[in-house]
Symmetry: C2
Subunit: 143 residues, 2 copies
């Protein structure tokens, strides 16, 4: 059985300094950094920035089409106003607008932007998923 967990999310980036500067401007502070990688401590795991080419090579798919795929990383917030504020802040930091926050079919409120490499972030309010005090998320039906 494979443990039901993730310990590291790695995003491939074309310009490590520029990408680090973007996340720093967003308010994130790195915990570890070398010439080739930047690690941010997040809730229960780590998010890393690593070069596009070495990431593809490390993954054993050096000829893979890089860029961004069918994936998004979401940040949930406690109110629609916080979503609007986070979205505006990201654009002010240089993020690319994909979809301004709006009421969505599943009963919440959600928008999307992209980081400098096109990695897709969602900002959302989900009335059915209250956040824990530390900002982490436990599904209401989880044991």
């Amino acid at each position: 059985m494979t443990p039901q967990r993730v310990t590291l999310i790695t995003l491939g980036v074309s310009d490590l300094a520029a990408s680090k500067a973007f996340y720093n401007s967003m308010g994130w502070v790195e915990t570890e950094q070398t010439d080739t990688v930047v690690f941010f401590q997040i809730n229960g795991m780590v998010l890393g920035l690593f070069g596009l080419v070495p990431l593809a090579e490390d993954q054993g798919r050096p000829d893979a089409t890089l860029g961004t795929g069918a994936m998004s990383l979401a940040q949930n917030f406690a109110t629609e106003a916080e979503v609007d504020k986070a979205y505006a802040h990201a654009l002010a930091c240089g993020a690319t607008a994909l979809k301004a926050p709006e009421a969505v079919f599943w009963g919440g409120y959600s928008g999307y932007y992209a980081d400098p490499d096109g990695h897709v972030w969602e900002v959302a309010y989900n009335p059915f998923w209250p956040l824990n005090d530390d900002g982490s998320l436990t599904l209401p039906d989880a044991d």
Copy 2:
């Protein structure tokens, strides 16, 4: 300032039932499920499976190239033997081999496989990053 956290990782999948069956065979158990989405509770956040097309539409990039991009999700383990076991188990569950676990330049031990949609998972042992008792990861230098 944007909180330094992720609350939901969403992977776009071409066949929700097949993808759910893969993760179930890996040992993961869903907490919420509808006809269009499956949510797994993980450490501090949620991992969701959602259709490729509705994900692209929801992200506001319906014409985006789908597939997988410059990203990997990693599971860290406490020993090299556990990495080997997890890698073999994934292949037995139908994962596609990308790189068999091996000693890597940063001093650890790592391999990669892909899920049915090509989403890249890393299995790794990092002697510099001990796991917490609950399997979550706090960087040694994190406050």
